[in-house]
């Protein structure tokens, strides 16, 4: 369904993503993990069209999409959520989702937008009440809203960006369960970016591990967790991990 080949994204002399290739099969949940600054969000930003790739090709459903504008990519069926929720606070909850449904599907139809919005809100478990406001939502509610907005664009492929940040243990496993349901019931393929490994490993079919913009491991959750390279860079002792985190966030500070 998605074929990424030799993807490179440089910011000046810094390669945030360096020659990464991977494939996503239809109906799969692929986990994309790595420490902060390893290039996960940059890959998402390139896939969704926010950044133009420096080199490489991205083929989605048989068509090259590298370098297309964000709205064109969404209209082809790649939806995304954001690590930090960015709702329109002056619009109602429903309008936030319906707006994504109206523009995200390429054909601007009022009826379709509303139907998609109702379905998306129901899936994530938010009120379909047209008078509901964004203001009252907590961290978990805002994450759900992000997900509903992405779903309302009727994507074939969903890019879920660190959907679980800021949630407690219980909310995390419920959110993970929701992603699995979205795949099972709606047939949407998912790439899930996350830096918390625990919950992700229970839900994904396959994992790709990134470090310093390069792919260092790929495989089933069990195999990856036991990969010595992964253990070294990702699950390693806390002190080096912290050093890496500080260095990486310093390096990627501007672009991300």
């Amino acid at each position: 369904m998605l074929l990424v080949k030799g993807l490179v994204k440089r910011f000046g002399g810094f390669a945030a993503v360096n020659n990464v290739s991977f494939e996503v099969a239809r109906g799969e949940i692929l986990g994309l993990i790595g420490p902060n600054g390893s290039g996960k969000s940059t890959i998402f930003n390139v896939l969704s069209g926010t950044y133009r790739p420096t080199a490489g090709s991205i083929v989605f459903d048989g068509h090259e999409i590298a370098g297309l504008a964000p709205h064109q990519i969404i209209n082809r069926g790649i939806g995304r959520t954001f690590q930090i929720p960015r709702p329109f606070r002056r619009l109602s909850l429903f309008d936030n989702v319906a707006l994504a449904g109206y523009y995200g599907q390429g054909r601007h139809s009022r009826a379709k937008a509303q139907a998609s919005a109702e379905r998306a809100l129901a899936v994530v478990g938010l009120p379909i009440d047209p008078k509901a406001k964004v203001g009252g939502l907590g961290a978990a509610g805002l994450k759900k809203l992000e997900l509903a907005k992405a779903l309302a664009t009727e994507p074939k492929l969903l890019l879920a960006d660190e959907s679980l940040g800021g949630l407690d243990e219980h909310e995390m496993s419920r959110a993970a369960e929701m992603l699995r349901r979205i795949r099972d019931e709606m047939g949407i393929t998912i790439i899930w970016v996350e830096h918390i490994m625990g919950v992700l490993m229970r839900v994904v079919d396959r994992v790709i591990v990134l470090d310093h913009g390069e792919k260092i491991a790929e495989g089933s959750p069990g195999a990856v967790a036991n990969n010595p390279k992964v253990i070294e860079v990702y699950l390693g002792t806390e002190v080096p991990a912290l050093h890496k985190l500080a260095a990486a966030s310093h390096a990627e500070g501007a672009p991300s």
Partner: protein
């Protein structure tokens, strides 16, 4: 205080207040157009009043020179200025979208002088009017011109139309949303370039409607924009750039200052008072009457 004098004074005061409201409607219409452009595209059309001037000439030529009926001439005038708004965006603004704000201001400022010079060459410097003399409505001792009343009602109708468009359609909702968060909109599938064109046409159409209403009351000449351009900018700044409600409120505040100031001396003094009020307010509330954006 003598009772009879109080009675007379009161009627004139009331007349001035009502005239202020009538003026406020038209000012609010102009402020809305400017705010719409700024709120969505983040540029200020310095030449906004000159678009209105061209529109006034458009209606003058269509109605008074070519003799078209008003029901045809007015929509044509609105369409003409809407197209001008589109062209302004396409030719001048779009190439400068990522440029520094000062460059955008200079560019639209250049368009201002271009339009003034163009009008001077094309239409001459004579004052022209439609040649319509609408009657005056007398209620007791108060006198209201039908032209002003008509202008007020049409301005309100125009604003209500925009309000419904902004709240009832998804294009309007997207326009409100893009004023809140520019980046996220494209990631929801919105083609911002198209939305900017729609907004520019809408801003132009509002200028066109204002042109129709102003040319009913005032003569048109190439520099007529100078007499209401500055006041529109002050209103928009006082209301908070991009704040629709603030601009609406500020329009009526200014209109009342002009109208009531004119009551006690010449109308020109009303404008002087309005400018003085603006300068004072810029010290007191530089962020505008109502704070902008959350």
């Amino acid at each position: 205080m003598n009772f009879a004098i109080f009675e007379v004074f009161d009627v004139y005061l009331l007349e001035a207040v009502v005239n202020g409201i009538l003026l406020g409607g038209v000012l609010a219409l102009m402020a809305l157009g400017l705010n719409l452009i700024f709120g969505v595209i983040d540029v200020v059309w310095i030449c906004y009043a000159e678009l209105i001037m061209i529109g006034m000439y458009g209606l003058y030529y269509a109605y008074a020179v070519f003799g078209l009926p008003m029901w045809l001439a007015a929509p044509m005038c609105i369409a003409l200025v809407a197209v001008l708004g589109l062209l302004l965006h396409y030719i001048v603004i779009r190439p400068l979208l990522d440029a520094a704000p000062i460059n955008q201001l200079l560019a639209t400022g250049g368009v201002l002088f271009f339009l003034q010079s163009f009008a001077t060459v094309a239409f001459g410097i004579d004052f022209r009017n439609l040649g319509i003399r609408l009657p005056v409505l007398a209620i007791g001792d108060m006198h209201f011109s039908y032209a002003r009343l008509l202008a007020f009602l049409a301005a309100v109708a125009g604003m209500v139309t925009i309000y419904l468009f902004m709240t009832r359609t998804y294009i309007g909702t997207a326009i409100r949303a893009i004023a809140q968060d520019r980046q996220i909109m494209v990631l929801m599938g919105v083609d911002s370039r198209r939305l900017y064109l729609v907004t520019s046409a809408l801003g132009g159409a509002l200028a066109g409607l204002a042109a129709c209403l102003l040319v009913l009351q005032y003569d048109v000449h190439p520099f007529v924009g100078l007499s209401f351009g500055p006041i529109t900018f002050m209103i928009v700044v006082l209301g908070g750039l991009g704040n629709f409600i603030g601009g609406f409120v500020a329009s009526f505040v200014f209109a009342e200052i002009i109208s009531l100031g004119g009551l006690y001396s010449d109308l020109e003094w009303g404008y002087v008072l309005a400018f003085a009020f603006f300068i004072l307010m810029m010290f007191a509330r530089p962020q505008g009457l109502l704070t902008r954006r959350s």
